[in-house]
């Protein structure tokens, strides 16, 4: 059952279109990430769901109810803010029980629910402290506690981990995943960090320029990016994207760019000859024998692998991965080959759609074999 539905939602600030024709179907109990660069409309989308912004068009539903005009407090949602937004003049305990107080939960019941939540988040010893006396991680827990205390239908999280240091962030990520599994509640999570989105979500909504680019499980977003933007946004190091042209020859397609020529059969029927782009992830490049000649420019050693940047021709840079024990020198000549089964092809333009056949389609199976 769909729990949260956005139908043709738009939000305009003056002449600026922050969110444009957004359609999302979020299932009950799903963990959804809204992922994109800053200014892509993800936070506006979340704030519209929270009721802090009102859409200028379309319809937002929570459960069976259209909530376009419902004030935030009556939507049965809870939200964790990037800044935590803890009430500075209230103690930890008062912060956590504030939502209950506002919903006129009797005092005794309130205390019990607050104690239970505090226990779960290991905040019990801190209940009498003020927010400013807590560390960043503890403040984060209090913000979570204030959201968890009343068991809402949907949890909204606006970059909740972005103010934590790297180690704590990793730890809280695991905790959030566990929390989601335990509670089984719908969660909508806004982030610009693809690692968070990839590791935590059931599905990721990738946004850019106010538009939804793709809404799919992390694996699919990585393996079958809907367009060039998604392809280049997801993955570290990013996908290599090469501008060139496609032509049809002898029943197969050939992509050509200066110094590169890749043949493939698994493009969809809408493919037309002409300008296009090819994307290849670093792991799709193999070093050794190959038709592409280049010069090693830069090597990054991460410990378990080497990231190698190779200059091909005069201005094309391709990034590949190799085993950590292979020693590279800058300036060394290398030969590369591209695994055409791992190549993605896109229409011309910054948001050009992907032309490959879906991985599951029968034509693709043949091509892969």
């Amino acid at each position: 059952m769909a729990d949260v539905v956005f139908s043709s939602v738009q939000k305009q600030f003056g002449s600026f279109m922050a969110v444009d024709n957004l359609n999302l179907d979020i299932q009950q109990g799903e963990f959804i990430s809204l992922l994109g660069p800053s200014g892509c409309g993800k936070t506006t989308t979340l704030r519209m769901l929270a009721g802090l912004e009102f859409p200028t068009g379309g319809e937002i539903k929570i459960g069976d109810r259209v909530v376009n005009d419902v004030p935030p407090g009556e939507r049965d949602i809870a939200m964790v803010f990037q800044s935590y937004a803890l009430y500075p003049h209230m103690s930890v305990g008062q912060n956590i029980s504030y939502p209950l107080k506002k919903r006129r939960v009797p005092k005794a019941e309130r205390a019990a629910m607050m104690a239970k939540t505090a226990e779960m988040l290991q905040l019990t010893p801190l209940l009498d402290r003020k927010p400013k006396e807590l560390s960043g991680g503890q403040q984060q827990r209090v913000a979570l506690g204030r959201a968890l205390v009343r068991d809402p239908k949907v949890f909204l999280l606006d970059e909740p981990l972005s103010n934590l240091d790297a180690k704590l962030r990793g730890h809280m990520r695991t905790e959030l995943i566990e929390l989601h599994q335990r509670l089984g509640r719908t969660m909508v999570y806004v982030t610009h960090d693809q690692l968070e989105a990839m590791t935590m979500s059931d599905r990721i909504a990738v946004m850019e320029g106010g538009k939804l680019q793709q809404f799919a499980p992390p694996k699919d977003v990585y393996r079958e990016p809907a367009n060039r933007f998604v392809a280049s946004f997801i993955g570290t190091p990013g996908m290599n994207i090469v501008d060139g042209a496609l032509r049809h020859e002898g029943g197969r397609w050939i992509f050509e760019a200066p110094g590169i020529s890749v043949g493939t059969q698994n493009l969809g029927p809408e493919t037309r000859p002409g300008n296009a782009a090819m994307g290849i992830r670093p792991e799709g490049l193999s070093f050794g024998e190959g038709p592409i000649e280049g010069i090693v420019q830069l090597v990054e050693q991460t410990g378990h692998e080497n990231i190698v940047v190779v200059l091909v021709g005069t201005d094309m840079r391709l990034t590949g991965r190799t085993a950590a024990d292979r020693v590279w020198r800058a300036g060394e000549s290398v030969q590369l080959s591209i695994d055409s089964n791992q190549a993605h092809f896109f229409e011309d333009g910054p948001n050009g759609i992907r032309l490959n056949r879906p991985l599951s389609s029968p034509g693709n199976q043949e091509a892969a074999q």
Partner: protein, 273 residues
Amino acid sequence: MLRKIAFNLFAWSIVLAVAFPLFWMLVTSVKPQFELFRRPPTMLPETFTLEHYWGLLTETKFLSYFWNSIILSTTTTVVVVAIATIGSYSLVRFRYRGRETLAFLVLFTYLLPSVVLILPLYLMLVNLGLSNTITSLVIAYTTFALPYALWLLRSFMAGIPEDLESAALVDGASRLGAFWDVILPQLLPGIISTALFTFILSWNEYLYALVLVNSDEARPLTTGVMNMLISSFNIEWSLLMAASVMMSVPLIIAFAFLQSYLTRGFGAGGVKG
């Protein structure tokens, strides 16, 4: 070392220069009449007396003026702070056409010299039948205290993260509830600063009081004391000094109590960033 001593001497000489009139006011108020004009003057009173204070309280209308001033300043402060709080909330939180222009216009009225406004204001208040009342002074003081108060509170209000209010709304508060539960406590240092400022301004105001009120029932301390103790023939120096001391007392008390509030709460944590 020598520099440090020179600097200290310099600093202390400034402090003395500023403090001396206050000291002289205090000393004069407790000297008996015959000691006042002695030459050379006595630094500390040879005979200590409180007769001027007693005289002021029992034989003059000082207490009634004092009471008028209290009512006047308190009412003005409450009215100004209430309007400025709500006004600054509107200026900071709501987006509407002409918001910035409005804020600028408000400041502009503050830039006009009060002498320019006093005649039109006087005529308006007479037409409203409010001449010679404390109410007329409350209205007049509000017109010049409000613009500044609004700007002062506006900057305090702008410093309160909007997320706090959003969080309260999501947590189930109404807009008014969020304002009451979250905004007001955060604004408290600003409110106290503004209140103190307004109170001092209305407590010390002279020009409007002189023009707008001409009866002892409504006269505040500033004009009252001048009226009663300075005639064209004589200035009652000792009574005047005693009155000045007593006029300063409420302000000193207010400062002493609220000073800690003024610094407390600035930058109180809770929002990281």
